[in-house]
Amino acid sequence: MQTTAVIIGAGHAGLAMSRRLTERSIDHVVLERGELANSWRTERWPTLRLLTPNWQTRLPDLRYEGREPDGFMAVTEVIDFITEYAGIVDAPVRTGTTVHSVRAGGAGFEVQTEHELWRARSVVLATGACNRAAIPAVAGGVPSTVAQVTPMTYRGADELPEGGVLVVGASATGCQLAEEIRQSGRPVTISVGEHVRMPRTYRGRDIFWWMDRAGILDERHDEVDDLTRARHVPSPQLVGTPERSTLDLNRLRAEGVRIVGRLGRVVDGVAQLSGSLANVCALADLKMNRLLTRLDEWATATGVDVDVERAERRDPTLVDRRPALHLDLRGGEIRTILWATGYRPDYSWLDIPVLDRSGHVRHEGGVVTDAPGLYLLGTPFLRRRSSTFIHGAGADTDELGTHLRDFLGGATSTRSCVR
């Protein structure tokens, strides 16, 4: 089978790219291992909602037009949104088509699926950044009496064994699930490393309204001081609820969740916890306040501050004077460990040497410079801070679609349109 470009993955990013290629009259196909929005259908827990408000959930040619612009889409709504989008842009999607390998060959790439071989001059990797739960090596020391789950297998607190739960990781996923599991009546302990604290609303507006208006989400990969760090910032401690309430460690503590330090290792069935809890909380508080100060300064400079509420600061994160440094996993107190320790991409099918030591694709703003014609979408800070959000695909695919067109035209070097 022959086409000009193959897009792998029919999530929001792959479909937005399809729209960009159609607009540029570039013949292409979108290969999808499952159904449209497959990871939303199969790899997310049922109560999950987007972190971004509905008004912000938009793709080229489709935006939310419902009655709750300040609400947050549930998983089923996201699936409907993406499915509707595939129809609107008339994307040439082949569902139920798992890609087994992508390699260099012919005048470009050879994409072997479970059904057939595709030859194309360009390939777009739109499989996302969250294909596997990242489980730290220390999990190997956890006694077999303790059940282990990940956010990709978790389907609700009621499916967990009775008894205590240790949630490892305090970013958006860990904090949300710690709260949900606590509400089921189970004793919950959360192990906290470096994290990003953020209020849901600030001065009466959603935090994403602020970051959108102040240009923070549009900051580009070639503008930030330290791109490596920016690409590894954990997801903020946010949750999208109808009440638009703020989820942080102080709230979890008030709900009875025990807060402990980062999990260091497990020796003889005993988990050893870091004594750095006070500092990671201090760092998160300072960083949050720097963000809010920046937003205040922007509001003053632009005159926006007359339309919003008074500036305020949240209480510092409460930390026990002597947080626990050990957790005995053999005693029955902890029956389940939930690893909310992040996600990794899976490129086991990518037979092109473009991965770095940690298994991520080396790229410049989504252009895989070591393999001209290969493109990447939807990874943290791919081209701008918004790259992992649904609306971030709009600008990213526009620029990369242009780069791809120019690459096919052969008129320009691979670096010409990175900016």
Binding site: G264, V267, G275, S276, N279, A282, L283, L286, N289, R357
Partner: protein, 186 residues
């Protein structure tokens, strides 16, 4: 950030450190260091340790000169007190590491330091090391560091400097997180 007419100088060569970060990212094998000390028992609880050589940047390296440390215990432990206790040296290592970090981070952030003073306290129940109470650990129950910093910066800026110094400190990491220790007889 302070705005001054004269360039900020805390005596830290930030450009060299940033250059090293870039160079070592490109050549990760050169980033693998090994730090060493050797120790000779003198008498009783008194020993003498020296540091001189270490490995790094893909080669054997030397301090400008060798440095020696007498280690002992005080007279109330029925020792002769020829030097600091090992646990005090841990405190010295931690506060020295954090203070180097304070200077470096301040330099990087354009904060001129005029003086930095710190006290460090480690609380310990010695029933642990005496083997008198199995519920008591050998090591510190907690460690408290207090900084007095005179600098051209707000309190919040200084809090951020001190927090970042902890985040990037090797000894802070060693003290707060588990480390595999292998002890064997040659």
């Amino acid at each position: 950030m302070a705005i001054t007419d004269t360039p900020i100088d805390n005596g830290v060569n930030v450009e060299a450190l940033l250059g090293a970060r870039e160079a070592l990212t490109a050549a990760p094998e050169a980033a693998q260091f090994q730090w060493r000390a050797s120790c000779t028992w003198r008498k009783g609880t008194h020993s003498h340790s020296t540091v001189e050589g270490f490995t790094g940047l893909g080669a054997e390296q030397q301090h400008r000169t060798s440095y020696g440390f007498d280690i002992d215990h005080p007279e109330c432990f029925a020792s002769e007190d020829h030097g600091a206790t090992p646990v005090e040296l841990v405190l010295v290592g931690l506060v020295g590491c954090l203070t180097a970090g304070v200077a470096s981070v301040a330099q990087h952030r354009g904060i001129q330091l005029r003086s930095v003073k710190a006290t460090i306290e480690g609380d310990m129940n010695v029933l642990g090391i005496l083997g008198a109470d199995p519920e008591v650990r050998n090591g510190f129950e907690s460690i408290t560091v207090r900084y007095e910093i005179d600098a051209d910066a707000t309190r919040e800026d200084l809090e951020a400097v001190v927090a970042q110094s902890q985040k990037r400190s090797a000894v802070y990491d060693i003290v707060t997180n588990p480390t595999t220790v292998v002890v064997e007889i040659a």
